[in-house]
Assembly symmetry: C2
Homo-oligomer: 650 residues x 2
């Protein structure tokens, strides 16, 4: 016998196990898995340079399963190959018994790829569709920077290829000539509720790919030789090449193909029938596994070593180094500008730092990084396509980089689903949203980040498996803080989001102030009232202090620049200020004030906490002052609220 | 003279005013406007059937400016044509003086299209890029349902055409043959930070459009005759046709074209020079306006009348009507299933109700609507492309429909940017996210809605111009509640989001219970502790009551199914329960509990509020019970927390 027969035999064996797994769990997607059986076999047993004993090897070829629901077929291969994963506290080869625990609460064999449970064969949690190719592209870009010969395969469902993000990723691959990324379309013609649109057929997909400059191989996805030839062609290609595989949902079994069985596991009786039909298919095809017909090729790269890094200069030194002495002397500088300085200094100090931006680098100041010729190679212009930018950043994180992805805070919203999936993946990436809040002024609400604090804030109370927060949300009030917090983000291994503002703001701090994740800064110490502000509103609150003093109210002002924060310390400060707390933020509700109210309300002490936030949809105005007044967050409004709070008997 | 000379004259006049407006405001995008000057002129003065005196006419042709930053050129036309808008309390024709107040805090002439300020010429707030065509497609679909002869033009920047959503919209147009939508690409070759990618050139855009079946006209976007011919061709076409206009950023003035002047207004001196150059261009071209060369064609449709609606049956009657007696008898039914019943009943009762779904209609139960042959025409399968689905729903809302767009709560995240823009637009639309929270169980976190309550919740504290909340967030605990709340959403003119759950849940209510936006239901009255739950967690809390009673704790249980809610009533209930409050929700933080903590903390009374929510990234499990235990939200966990709360001395 030979290669063909061995592939058929393995593909059928894997399909059988996937069917059994999903029958055992009572849910899952055996039919999607069957359509991928031959592709998975040729990839994992013949083409990918990987090591089942070390599935997270940083030099190995990678597989991103964009259509995450088809994962049982890959778990079946993991059991067959003994791919190492974490079972309870034990790292050991996966077994057949392990994968029959598919979807159980104490098993890492999750319903969709979920690497942080201890399954490092995958780089990315997938299952929310259309995201995998961006991640694959990011890993490919990281590998090229490291000089690693890695190929990154991505299996994409035809149904999910309707997602615009898939095409953003395709264009990113063309723009950056990431030929080592290999998009493979699994065209089984069925989505969940019906057949795919005529626009997701192999013919139209081929035309679309050619229109943007991809090489295309259209193959029968159940023909071992065609698969192998296409993958060989991809490996040899110097320009991006995609594979379109025509497949059959439920291949090998009439019972599986009857009806549209997306996401339906089989009963015990159906299962027996399906297994019987698969055996019949095997004998019809003369399927027979012969050792040696397929061999996993060895990994050609060593695991890359951590690069040499240098100490970061202070903010003042970096400003001087980059010729910004005059700005430093002025005593005013926007936090977004300081982010640019920090990003550039970080890039020069740490070869692993990379920058991505979505066609607004002149506004986010990622342009400081892009414009430095020592760093230009590590800058990725992602164009106006934020979903792909986030996915690519996640991929670069999986590839060992420290990616900073920036856009307007408003436009990062475009990638919230991708951000959540990256958090689920355990990704190390940093997001910087500029023009946050209302101080942007002239452009109006279509450019303002307003519900972002609530959204990112929700993750700050979620713990990752290592106990760290699923997200740090940071909002510096001045350039010194922005510079240092950018550095802190780079040092932390985990997701962070920093909000920056458009206008120049006064310096509040100096190089000696130490900013940390989870920290806060005491700006003014009083006894009558605690004001908690963050970012731009710190300046409004600061302006309010004088008027309050004239009204004989001694307020404590804290710059609460991090979520999560030290709740015990904030509660103590509240107690020292007669339990009166005023929070001020330039975003919609559910942000800093909500977290403070949660901390205060958890305690039986008598607190009064008034939250000031944006309670209307803003509009354009010529100055930040116009806007702060428009939404009721000016220093005068703060004085009014603070005075009312103090006058209420507690 | 003639048509050509008149178009040039008007285009140059509009450009001059746009330059002056942006110079006056000190910001804006005059060069993008200049690239659109001829297209805007031919559209507004010759091609669109509209009425400056009645710019919101429901039978008129519409213009969606996807590249919202180019709006000054359209404001210039509004001033010239006297398009009616709201100035302070006065609805009157727009003047030159009005538009010179561009971006001022008290002017409806906002930085980007912003209809709710009183500028109904636009249906949609735009400015976050790549969204306009989905909205245009939605308006076109609504017009077809109403039998209205309307054409919907959409001006798309070449830079923004990198957004995947643009191509999701294109495919939606092809799938549904919405030939009255007219995508016009403004190919001036410049994005914000640089030239566009080679993939956004007219040539590649043409190839992409042809690959998916669009007819294409490539024209010189500054040639009046070519523009008119292309628009005539579109009006005559029975299949979708797109126009690719090659344009010049800063047309008509060398000063405007020097450098990449995206988003830069001119100084007074520069402005004078630009105006001079535009005058020179005018005389070079022999530009001269002659009355009668261009005429706005009359609107051919009457304003559609409100359709006849019928009373909605009770939930029990609807279940019987649709043959679900046995489910009714079982006493259990998932809220997502009840949503399907309600949607179908609503569709039959109100011809304006439409349904959109993203290839999960069998799971969200929008399939109940789609499967009724009386309603099938009003169902829109949007495939796996949620961004376009949200935009199309917003467009249908603008077209007078009551659109319900459904997907998994997780996948709606894909459209959060679009949802916020629709809120800014004043859209009437309803979103229903199924499989919310952790009770989905087996599929794991890639399919669970977890930070959604925080995000939608942030809008529930934002007021629309009419004083209503920018969002109602609803979470029914049983099928009766889900049915009625679906009806309430349809009755309310404004954005709503309803969370539904996967598992069947026990009936708690009956047809006589009245559910309202902003309401809550008292399930059990006690005196020691107030438990506030919502949706699936109501059932866990309900289970906890017995154990608490055995521990001699009399708890009050409230089903808090709406945000915003009656804060005074909730505070009163807390006071009646010794100030002890326990909130329970199956999502990440910043949701119901945060809103409750805010309400409690605003008062000087001594409250103790403990929030229970999801504090880890969930995984798969075989049953909802597995998951509730995994994230610490089971009835047993509630008992533990409730007991601890009561034992803490208040």
């Amino acid at each position: 016998m030979g290669f063909i027969e061995s592939v058929h035999a393995k593909a059928i064996d894997l399909t059988k196990l996937a069917v059994e797994m999903t029958a055992a769990s009572g849910s899952g997607h055996p039919t999607s898995g069957a359509s991928l059986a031959h592709l998975a076999t040729v990839l994992l047993y013949r083409h990918m340079r990987h090591d089942p004993a070390n599935p997270g090897h940083r030099g190995s070829d990678r597989l991103v399963l964009s259509e995450g629901h088809a994962v049982p077929i890959l778990y079946a291969a993991a059991a067959d190959l003994g791919i190492v994963a974490q079972y309870a506290d034990d790292w050991r080869p996966t077994t057949r018994e392990d994968v029959l625990k598919l979807r159980q609460i104490d098993s890492p064999i999750d319903g969709h790829p979920h690497p942080i449970l201890g399954f490092p064969f995958f780089d990315a949690a997938t299952g929310s569709l259309g995201q995998g190719l961006s991640i694959a592209a990011g890993i490919a870009a990281a590998a090229r920077l490291d000089g690693l010969d890695r190929r990154i395969y991505c299996l994409i469902g035809d149904g999910e290829s309707r997602e615009g993000q898939v095409w953003e990723a395709m264009e990113f691959i063309i723009d950056h000539n990431l030929a080592t990324a290999c998009p493979i379309f699994n065209c089984n013609l069925y989505a969940q509720s019906a057949k795919v649109s005529p626009l997701q057929t192999p013919e139209v997909t081929e035309a679309k790919l050619k229109a943007i400059g991809f090489g295309v191989r259209v193959i029968n996805g159940h023909d071992p030789q065609q698969i192998a030839d296409a993958l060989d062609a991809h490996a040899a290609a110097e320009r991006p090449l995609a594979v379109i595989a025509k497949t059959i949902k439920g291949w090998g079994s009439q019972t599986m193909q009857a009806g549209n069985c997306h996401g339906k596991a089989f009963t015990k009786d159906e299962c027996a029938q399906v297994l019987k039909e698969l055996d019949e298919t095997a004998s019809k095809l003369g399927a027979q596994w012969t050792d040696g017909d397929l061999q996993i090729p060895p990994i050609t790269n060593a695991e890359p070593e951590a690069p040499q890094t240098q100490d970061l200069p202070t903010f003042s030194d970096a400003m001087r180094q980059f010729g910004k002495e005059s700005a430093l002397a002025k005593g005013k500088w926007a936090t977004r500008r300081a982010y640019g300085i920090a990003l550039r200094a970080l890039g020069l100090a740490n070869p692993n730092v990379v920058s991505l931006d979505g066609d607004v680098r002149g506004s986010t100041f990622a342009g400081e990084f892009a414009g430095d010729e020592q760093l230009a190679e590590r800058f990725f212009e992602c164009r106006i396509a934020e979903q792909n930018m986030i996915g690519a950043a996640a991929g670069m994180g999986a590839g060992g980089k420290i990616p900073f992805a920036s856009s307007f805070a408003k436009f990062l919203t475009r990638g919230y689903d991708q951000i959540e999936m990256a958090i689920n993946s355990g990704t190390n990436f940093k997001l910087v949203g500029s023009h946050a809040g209302v101080s942007l002024a002239a452009d109006g609400p279509s450019q303002m980040g307003l519900p972002d604090v609530a959204w990112f804030g929700a993750f700050t109370h979620v713990k990752r498996p290592d106990g760290s927060p699923a997200m740090y949300l940071l909002q510096p009030a001045d350039a010194f803080a922005a510079y240092q917090l950018t550095a802190r983000m780079a040092e932390h291994d985990g997701p962070c989001y920093m909000r920056t503002h458009r206008p120049d703001t006064q310096f509040l701090y100096d190089d000696n102030t130490r900013f940390v994740l989870g920290g806060h800064e005491l700006i003014s110490e009083g006894k009558d009232l605690l004001i908690l502000a963050s970012g731009y509103t710190v300046h409004e609150a600061n302006r309010a202090l004088d008027a309050l003093e004239q009204a004989e109210i001694e307020a404590t002002l804290v710059d609460l620049y991090s979520m999560p924060f030290d709740t015990a310390a904030i509660v103590d400060l509240a107690l020292q200020n007669q339990g009166r707390v005023l929070t001020v933020e330039d975003n919609y509700s559910g942000g800093f004030g909500a977290a403070v109210a949660e901390a205060l309300a958890a305690d039986a002490n008598a607190f009064t906490c008034k939250q000031m936030y944006v309670e209307r949809i803003p509009k354009s105005g010529l100055s930040p002052a116009d806007l702060m007044q428009h939404v009721g967050l000016s220093a005068e409004d703060i004085v009014t609220q603070a005075t009312a709070l103090v006058e209420v008997p507690t």
